[in-house]
Symmetry: C2
C-alpha cells in the first residue's frame, strides 16, 4: 500500500515548478538538483507529466518546463494518475475498468475497496498544488 518514488518525485517536482513559477521555464536539471533526484529518472517522470498535459516542455537552450495550467487547477490526484495510473487499491474498483470481475455481484470485499478508493480520491482530488504551496513557511526548498 505504498506510493512509488515516482509518484512522490512527481509531486515534489511539480511543487518546484509551482513555487518558481515565473516567465522563464525551469530546467529539469535544476529541479533534479533542488530535490536531490536523479535527473535521468526525473526525465522519465516528466514524459508522463507532459503526456498528461500537466506540464509543457520548452526545447532548446534556456528551455525547461512549466505548469500547463494554473497551480490551483492541478491536483495531487492529477499528478499521481499521470505517473502511477488509476487510483484504486485493487484492480476491480478502477473507475475506468472495462469489465468487472465475474464475482463482482457477490463480492463482499468489493464495497470496502470502493469506499477506500473514494476516501483516497477525496483527499487527492481536492488538494491542489496551490493549496500545498500555500502551506509553505517560505523556507527555501534546498536541503536542510
Amino acid at each position: 500500500m505504498r506510493l512509488s518514488t515516482k509518484g512522490q518525485y512527481a509531486v515534489r517536482a511539480m511543487l518546484v515548478l509551482t513555487m518558481r513559477q515565473a516567465e522563464a521555464p525551469i530546467a529539469l536539471r535544476r529541479v533534479a538538483e533542488l530535490e536531490d533526484i536523479s535527473a535521468q529518472y526525473l526525465e522519465q517522470i516528466f514524459v508522463d507529466l507532459r503526456k498528461a498535459q500537466l506540464v509543457t516542455g520548452v526545447r532548446g537552450a534556456s528551455g525547461g518546463y512549466q505548469l500547463a495550467r494554473p497551480a490551483d487547477q492541478i491536483t495531487a490526484g492529477d499528478i499521481l494518475r499521470a505517473v502511477e495510473g488509476p487510483i484504486a487499491p485493487v484492480e476491480c474498483v478502477q473507475k475506468d475498468h472495462p469489465e468487472a470481475c465475474r464475482r463482482a455481484n457477490i463480492c463482499i470485499t468489493r464495497e470496502l475497496w470502493m469506499r477506500l478508493r473514494d476516501s483516497m480520491s477525496a483527499v487527492l482530488d481536492t488538494t491542489t498544488l496551490a493549496d500545498m504551496a500555500g502551506t509553505v513557511v517560505t523556507n527555501d526548498t534546498e536541503e536542510g
Copy 2:
C-alpha cells in the same frame, strides 16, 4: 498504490471464518477451496494473522482456524496491518516510524501524505468483519 493479493486474500479468508463461525474451527484447506486461493500461499497468510492474534489455530485432525475475537472487534485495518505492515502511503508518515526523515520539518508534501494516510485509516479502522458480513445478501461464497 495497489494492495497486494496477500491483503485481499487475508480479508476474504477472515470473512469466511466470520460467516462460517461455529463451534468447530474451519480448516485452511476448506477456506482455500471456497475462495479459490492457493492453500500453500494462504498458509503463509495465516501465519501472519495468527502472529497478530487475529485468529487461533487448532492443530491436529479436525483442527483449523477460528477468529480470535468477535467479528465486530476485528477491523479491515487490523487484518491489512497484520499481513502488509503499516498503512501509510509513504514511509515517512508511518505511525510507528522511529525517526522522521531529516527534511520532515520543511517537507511540503508530508502533510498531504498524512492526510491521505488518515483518510485511508478512517475507512479501514472503522469497518469490522461484522459490518462486512452484514452486507451480504446471503449468497453462498462459492464461485458464481
